[in-house]
């Protein structure tokens, strides 16, 4: 698709929910190593709630749908990643408040706001081994694509690739935040659990846009 429109949001969140339902056990296992094993459960609940919320918001403005999805997540999954992801969708939604459709430029605005919102909320620095280390490359890739007026399908595909590389790079980092920080050294060599969530989001989005 060339742009994502108000009528696509329900399907998009269904796709997100499918991803996190499928990856539930994988994320649990990942969080178990240096955390408290809840990530798969909370992400699944978060997107289940979000998907339910937007399922009957067909005519509503795009931005509002994202914001309501975020609010639903915050309520359903008040864990670290649940709340950060909720923040991301609320800030992203706000960034596309005036848009009727999401093309490359709007997609860039969405992820920039998403990443910045999480940075502000979580107060992590780049390199701290958090979701931010995957989000920032995604946003930067989209900024480049927007500069080059790339079509949406290519822009998100590039962003997904950037996200994947960034996720691999988190393996070498040492956790500074959250439960993993208590196991700082043990976290070395493992890919960040929250970063995995960011990658799964952009990957699902790329697939969704490709159709």
């Amino acid at each position: 698709m060339d742009t994502i429109n108000t009528g696509n949001i329900a399907a998009l969140f269904e796709a997100f929910h499918t991803t996190f339902r499928d990856k539930r056990d994988e994320l649990i296992a990942l969080d178990a190593k240096v955390g408290d094993s809840d990530l798969g459960i909370t992400m699944n609940s978060a997107f289940e709630a979000a998907s339910k919320t937007v399922s009957d918001m067909d005519g509503e403005p795009l931005g509002k749908q994202f914001k309501m999805a975020g609010a639903a997540m915050a309520k359903a999954a008040p864990s670290t990643m649940g709340t950060l992801t909720a923040t991301g969708f609320m800030r992203g939604g706000k960034a596309v408040d005036d848009a009727d459709a999401i093309g490359t430029k709007e997609m860039m605005a969405f992820w920039r706001a998403y990443a910045d919102g999480i940075a502000e909320r979580g107060k992590a620095k780049l390199g701290d081994k958090t979701v931010l280390d995957v989000l920032e490359p995604i946003a930067q890739s989209l900024e480049q694509s927007a500069d080059q007026h790339a079509p949406l399908v290519d822009a998100v595909a590039d962003a997904a690739r950037a996200g994947q590389a960034a996720l691999v790079a988190t393996k070498d980092m040492v956790a500074q935040h959250g439960k993993a920080a208590a196991f700082a050294d043990k976290s070395k060599g493992l890919q960040d659990a929250g970063g995995t969530v960011a990658f799964l989001l952009i990957e699902t989005l790329a697939r969704f846009v490709k159709g």
Binding site: D36, D38, A74, T83, A86, F183
Partner: protein
């Protein structure tokens, strides 16, 4: 796993039902049992809210009551409550003088309380926050902002609660809470694991003769794991960490909290306090307030912590003030 419970999924809500049935001084708002508030708000008083995961009774909700806190957002076992629940509590307890959040230094809680602060701002409620980080074992001096909040948060509640009761403004109550926070240090030791109801098995393993000094109340790594020693040398080792941090001078006053983590008998907590008291005497430090018992637990974890509040005149007065909650009663001294 041996727990008195029904479906583990209902652990928190059935616990809350029991608490509401037992205590008419507290109730809930927004039709959500996890939005726990004092039944009778005090007009014009600064509201104080806390919140955090369940499994630590009497922490957190236990300190909601007269002379202490006004509300608590209640999370699942070891999980943060949501920003929305915090907001609902905030809306209810704001009596025109603003609201102070006091909670422990855990990422999930911080993120949600920050979000709640923004949401409250949209409702024109002024909110400020003080984050407890008393656990000396969880990060070095200079990196205090990374330290976990544990039992010492009790002193923040007591000081801020009494200050608000005296009619201080939000800024003044924040000043008091910050001061109490800066002057509070805690060190813990764990002997056994707790079991999260929905997980059903111990969160960590520890040898039959081992202890871990500095372990967190969710089982976070501590400083050293080794053979359990006799109580006196253990307390000496723990207290050395606290004495190294604050400039306690001869003649200074302190308040002491010896806290059981859940399964440790009260007898043993008094044996520990005995040694703490001796160490204070040796240094000519006056122990002016003492609390020994369970104040912040990890369900059935065996272990204990010692918290020290370095008093000044104001904190001394606030510690002495009356408090009356379903879980904590203190006659004015």
């Amino acid at each position: 796993m041996k727990k008195f419970m029904n479906d583990p999924k209902n652990f928190v809500d059935e616990m809350l039902e029991g608490i509401y049935l037992a205590n008419k001084e507290v109730t809930y708002v927004a039709d959500d049992k996890r939005c726990y508030v004092k039944a009778e708000p005090v007009k014009g008083k600064v509201g104080i809210a806390t919140g955090g995961g369940s499994g630590h009774l009497p922490l957190f909700l236990g300190y909601v009551g007269k002379g202490m806190l006004d509300g608590a957002a209640v999370g699942g076992v070891f999980q943060s409550p949501s920003a929305e629940q915090m907001l609902e509590v905030t809306k209810h307890i704001d009596q025109g003088a603003g609201v102070l959040y006091i909670y422990g230094n855990y990422t999930g809680d911080i993120i949600n309380f920050d979000m709640a602060t923004e949401l409250a701002d949209l409702e024109d409620i002024k909110v400020m926050s003080v984050v407890g980080n008393d656990d000396v074992a969880s990060s070095v001096v200079g990196e205090e902002h990374k330290r976990r909040g544990v039992a010492g948060i009790f002193f923040l509640y007591k000081a801020a609660g009494a200050a608000a009761q005296e009619g201080m403004s939000l800024e003044e109550v924040v000043r008091v809470a910050e001061k109490a926070k800066d002057r509070t240090r805690t060190i813990g030791v764990a002997l056994s694991s707790c079991i999260i109801p929905e997980v059903g098995k111990p969160s960590f393993e520890i040898g039959d003769d081992e202890m871990e000094i500095g372990m967190g109340i969710h089982g976070e790594n501590g400083i050293t794991r080794k053979k359990l020693t006799a109580a006196d040398p253990l307390v000496d080792e723990m207290m050395a960490k606290i004495f190294a941090e604050q400039d306690y001078k001869k003649g200074d006053d302190v308040a002491i909290l010896v806290n059981g983590l859940g399964a440790t008998p009260l007898e043993e907590l008094y044996i520990m306090f005995r040694r703490v008291s001796q160490l204070m005497s040796e240094r000519d430090i006056n122990v002016k307030h003492v609390w020994v018992g369970e104040f912040a637990t990890s369900m059935e974890m065996a272990g204990a912590s010692v918290s020290v509040l370095h008093l000044d005149e104001e904190l001394d007065r606030l510690m002495a003030a009356k408090a009356d909650t379903p879980f904590f009663k203190h006659f004015a001294q």
